[in-house]
């Protein structure tokens, strides 16, 4: 699986996660899958809705009503939800155990490491079918 983002999307994500720092920031990818390439057509930037604001430096939540709204937007435009992104403030762009416990198979999970307020590392992950681990996938940024 390859996640293909446009430079404009990357710039939007960068602004969103740097603005959110030191809290985690998150969002939803809408687009289409063609021959294993997840082509992002549209982003939904989402407020981190993890209940305890103090824990938002290391936790994020996209509540179901956001996912449902995104799903409806996707269906109306002939797209689908391809995956999600979130930031790891002052932490590597690798999934934590907590990420794994709460992840769904198939979706692309982009993690952006934000160090001292700057987005420095971008990595895409997919949960294995048996939920035992994440596998790193390819991020492609196109004009």
């Amino acid at each position: 699986m390859i996640l293909r983002l446009r430079q404009a999307h990357q710039a939007q994500i960068r602004a969103h996660v740097e603005r959110g720092y030191p809290a985690e920031a998150c969002g939803i990818f809408l687009g289409r899958e063609v021959d294993g390439v997840r082509i992002v057509e549209r982003l939904r930037l989402v407020d981190n809705r993890w209940a305890d604001p103090e824990e938002q430096t290391h936790r994020f939540l996209i509540p179901p009503e956001e996912v449902l709204a995104a799903e409806r937007e996707a269906v109306a435009e002939g797209l689908e939800i391809l995956g999600f992104f979130h930031s790891h403030p002052d932490h590597p762009a690798r999934p934590s155990n907590f990420d794994r416990e709460h992840a769904w198979p198939w979706y692309a999970y982009l993690i952006v490491s934000v160090e001292n307020g700057r987005a420095i590392d971008w990595r895409v992950w997919e949960l294995k079918e048996d939920r035992s681990a994440f596998v790193e996938r390819t991020l492609e940024v196109v004009p």
């Binding site: 430096t57 290391h58 936790r59 994020f60 799903e71 590597p92 934590s96 907590f98 769904w104």
Partner: protein, 103 residues
Amino acid sequence: MAVQILIPTPLRVYTRGEKVVTVEAGTVGEALRALTERFPELRRHLFNEEGRLRSFVNLYLGDEDVRYLQGEETPISDGQTLSIVPSIAGGGRWSSGRWITRR
């Protein structure tokens, strides 16, 4: 009652690619039972070992979260749509009040 159940993309592999599954059911619980009888592999993704709906699996009848209705006892009218909706959570590593470095 005929109820349409919308299947999110990650679970379609267990419904032979079907995005919408129509079942006969009078309540949300009956709809879930009919769905998982037809596609038994779905069960472990929707329910935990105690048979309860997993906490990050949500069910919406129309626009309403069934947790705020009558849960699995919620009655379904003919033609209503039941959506299985993931909530998405995660985050960095934090344990016992301190960061665990991973490198």
